[in-house]
């Protein structure tokens, strides 16, 4: 599979020269020797456990002896009335979790990045940049705890039980997470905006373009390719999401599983919760399904979309 993103920035010719240069026999040896240590770490701590968990999902060990059952665990996960209800519920919730991140966090990140680079903050730019990024560095346990106190109906700011109502619980948790991680798209877009050359902006100004049209017609097209990357990172991150929900609501996230996402479903299945025994095979099956959900979309993105994103040559 081709996962190396695109040719180096100076054009297609460089890659050919680059390959021909490096891949001759003498250099190939060093190339391999230098990548092997990283490869070992990757294989041992990422690739093998992944393959192993897929392998687990094809076995049944509940009876005490490992028995190969093919796709039976998957069939059970998707067809057993109780298990499949929980799975589809978690998947739907996860999509909502992702959508809220994409629709709120990214525009907010863009707004903040635009404000930071607008020059209006003058010398306090660095201060704001730091302040806005700080939540990202906080522990989710602290973020969950502080927000839970802020919105507590007994001693907090809102009367409504935001986390206790099935309709508002998941959006509330998603927005807490957005609050925490808005610094990530902000810093991506901030860096991209800083990279926009001054002569282009000066030219726009000379042509009589105002701040608003300079942003949308000059800066925005130049940073547009970043959005694809941010979207796919948000996708991967939200479908691997677990910690904030677990910190706030434990492994059977209520009310009535309305905040259950794939990560907590996996944890509950694999490790068990207070009332539920752990089921290694089914847990591995859930993990493999999560992996496939992420893999398919990520591969589709890099295979189809990413190379079509047009970067403007400057």
């Amino acid at each position: 599979m081709r996962t190396v993103p695109g040719p180096p920035p100076s054009g297609p010719g460089t890659l050919l020269r680059f390959e021909r240069h490096v891949l001759n026999r003498a250099h190939y040896r060093y190339f391999l020797a230098f990548t092997l240590p990283a490869l070992v770490v990757y294989v041992v701590f990422a690739a093998l456990p992944l393959v192993n968990s897929i392998w687990y999902s094809l076995y049944d060990t509940d009876s005490g002896v490992a028995r190969f059952v093919g796709l039976e665990n998957y069939v059970y996960l998707f067809t057993n009335p109780t298990t499949s209800e929980r799975f589809w519920n978690a998947l739907t919730n996860n999509l909502e979790f992702f959508a809220i991140h994409l629709l709120v966090e990214v525009p907010l990140g863009l707004l903040l990045a635009a404000l930071l680079t607008s020059g209006r903050l003058r010398r306090s730019t660095g201060l704001y940049r730091t302040l806005l990024f700080i939540p990202t560095t906080l522990s989710v346990v602290i973020v969950g705890f502080v927000w839970r106190l802020i919105i507590n109906p007994l001693w907090g700011l809102v009367d409504f039980p935001l986390l206790g109502d099935e309709r508002t619980a998941l959006p509330t948790i998603s927005l807490m997470s957005v609050w925490q991680y808005v610094g990530i798209p902000m810093i991506f877009l901030y860096a991209a905006l800083l990279a926009v050359p001054n002569d282009v902006l000066e030219a726009a100004r000379v042509e009589g373009s105002g701040a608003w049209s300079t942003f949308w017609r000059v800066k925005f097209p130049l940073i547009a390719p970043q959005f694809g990357l941010i979207a796919i990172l948000t996708y991967i991150w939200t479908f691997n999401g677990f910690d904030l929900v677990f910190a706030l609501n434990g492994s059977a996230p209520g009310p009535n599983y309305s905040t259950d996402i794939l990560g907590t479903l996996f944890y509950r299945t694999f490790f068990g919760s207070s009332g539920q025994l752990s089921d290694l095979d089914l847990g591995a099956t859930v993990a493999s399904v999560i992996f496939l959900i992420i893999l398919i979309v990520t591969a589709a993105y890099f295979g189809l979309l990413h190379r079509r994103l047009r970067s403007y040559e400057l």
Binding site: L32, N152, D159
Partner: protein
């Protein structure tokens, strides 16, 4: 080329080790063998795995020194994992061939699965078992009746009440369900205090401190519980429906925004003197009995005046010897010590809210703990309804009870629908109910 060969070999070796370690093996861990005799003067070090991280200081400063004083050759290390992660941690440790010498045992199904996986040494025939009634040993036995863990403590559930509020409003401690509801209504009509400090955000306590506490009087304790286990009774039977109705009757007396109040919020509401009654477990005694708060405790109300009293006594923890331990003789010595009055008095009085399950009576220095223990006199004891066998499949009965109780309070789910849903879930996998 050497660099490459070495690297390739490293990758191959690492891969081989990992594959071997991760192969799906469900066979019990049997490494370790018999106790290695400690050389003279050398200390055997035991580790005791537990989910009670909050007890670290108590074990290290009080209990373990007392043990080590009479057993100078053994030193014990208290190794606690967070409650939520304990089961997973023990399982991954023992399956991986490590893990503590002494394992704190969860009651019922989790422990039964651990017994099945061969985590424990069998205790059959050991004299230390004689200190306990069979009823206290059952939660930690296999289907054939073999014993694997020695009971340490049980917890009780009841109602804490603010004596000052009761005096201010001229209320008597209720003994029947009618009296109980009348008291709640009076507090609500007065308007100054929240009648019941209950939030529904953490659904476990709706079951453990709610339904499983007030329900046994309707399903007749062990009779109803064993009936469900044997399949002779159904959750939809009138006895169980009455219990769910009694629980639903709480709803008008809950604080505002109860849907998102967590367990610590409930305790706080009560200890700040803003709520009159807190349905809770005995384990919360220390948090509830704060300075300046005049707290009493009463048991679940009876169905009719003079009717049988029931009380939830939940076996909470026991200790077993790991089959993989290399220090089994020392571990056994420690375990036998936990059955002695010396340990039990020390333990229950250092941890008010936990109650000894041993035959010999124990005196409690904490007044509130003693009044909790007094509730046991003349009451029929029964553990939590959903934990024994009924939760060993999907959907787990206990988790489902939590969920429907939360729905009953949050979304006004009817008793009829709630019990039907529970029965349907149980019948979908539990053979005696099919």
């Amino acid at each position: 080329m050497h660099a490459i060969r070495a690297s390739v070999a490293l990758v191959a070796a690492a891969a081989a080790v990992l594959t071997a370690a991760c192969a799906p093996s469900a066979t019990p861990v049997t490494t370790g063998g018999s106790a290695a005799p400690a050389a003279a003067g050398e200390k055997t070090v035991l580790t005791l795995g537990s989910w009670r991280t909050e007890d670290l200081a108590m074990w290290e400063d009080e209990i373990l020194p007392a043990f080590e004083k009479s057993h100078p050759n053994i030193s014990v290390k208290f190794a606690a994992t967070n409650t939520n992660e304990y089961n997973a941690a023990i399982q991954s440790q023992v399956d991986g061939g490590t893990g503590p010498d002494l394992i704190t045992c969860r009651p019922y199904d989790v422990n039964r699965s651990w017994i099945k996986k061969g985590y424990f040494e069998k205790l059959d025939g050991k004299p230390m078992l004689d200190s306990f009634e069979p009823l206290a040993l059952d939660p930690w036995s296999d289907d054939a009746g073999s014993r694997y863990c020695l009971p340490t403590a049980a917890v009780l559930a009841g109602f804490y009440y603010n004596k000052d509020i009761f005096a201010e409003l001229g209320l008597q401690v209720p003994t029947t369900q009618d009296e109980f509801l009348a008291v709640l209504k009076k507090i609500k009509d007065n308007g100054k205090y929240t009648p019941l400090a209950v939030g529904s955000s953490e659904s476990w306590q709706l079951a453990y401190n709610g339904l499983y506490s007030i329900g046994p009087v309707y399903w007749k304790g062990e009779e109803g519980r064993q009936g469900l286990i044997k399949g002779t009774k159904k959750v939809t039977d009138p006895d169980f429906q009455k219990a769910f109705d009694a629980f639903a009757a709480w709803k008008p007396y809950l604080p505002k925004g109860f849907e998102s109040l967590k367990y610590p919020d409930m305790t706080q509401l009560f200890t700040l003197g803003k709520a009159a009654i807190l349905p809770d477990g005995s384990w919360n005694i220390n948090q509830v009995a704060v300075d300046g708060l005049n707290v009493g405790v009463f048991g679940p109300p009876t169905d009719v005046p003079g009717g049988d009293r029931y009380l939830q006594e939940m076996p909470d923890m026991a200790i077993g010897i790991s089959a993989a331990s290399k220090n089994k003789a020392a571990a056994e010595e420690f375990l036998a010590w936990t059955a002695t009055p010396e340990f039990l008095e020390l333990y229950v009085n250092k941890l008010p809210g936990f109650f000894s399950m041993a035959k010999q009576p124990v005196t409690y220095t904490n007044a509130l703990a003693q009044s909790f223990a007094d509730l046991k006199n003349g009451a029929k004891l029964t553990p939590r309804l959903g934990l024994d066998r009924l939760s060993a499949g999907t959907p787990p009965f206990d988790d489902e009870v939590w969920r429907v109780l939360q729905l009953m309070l949050n979304e006004d789910l009817s008793t009829q629908k709630a019990t039907e849903e529970l029965q349907k879930g149980l019948a979908s996998w539990y053979t005696p109910q099919q």
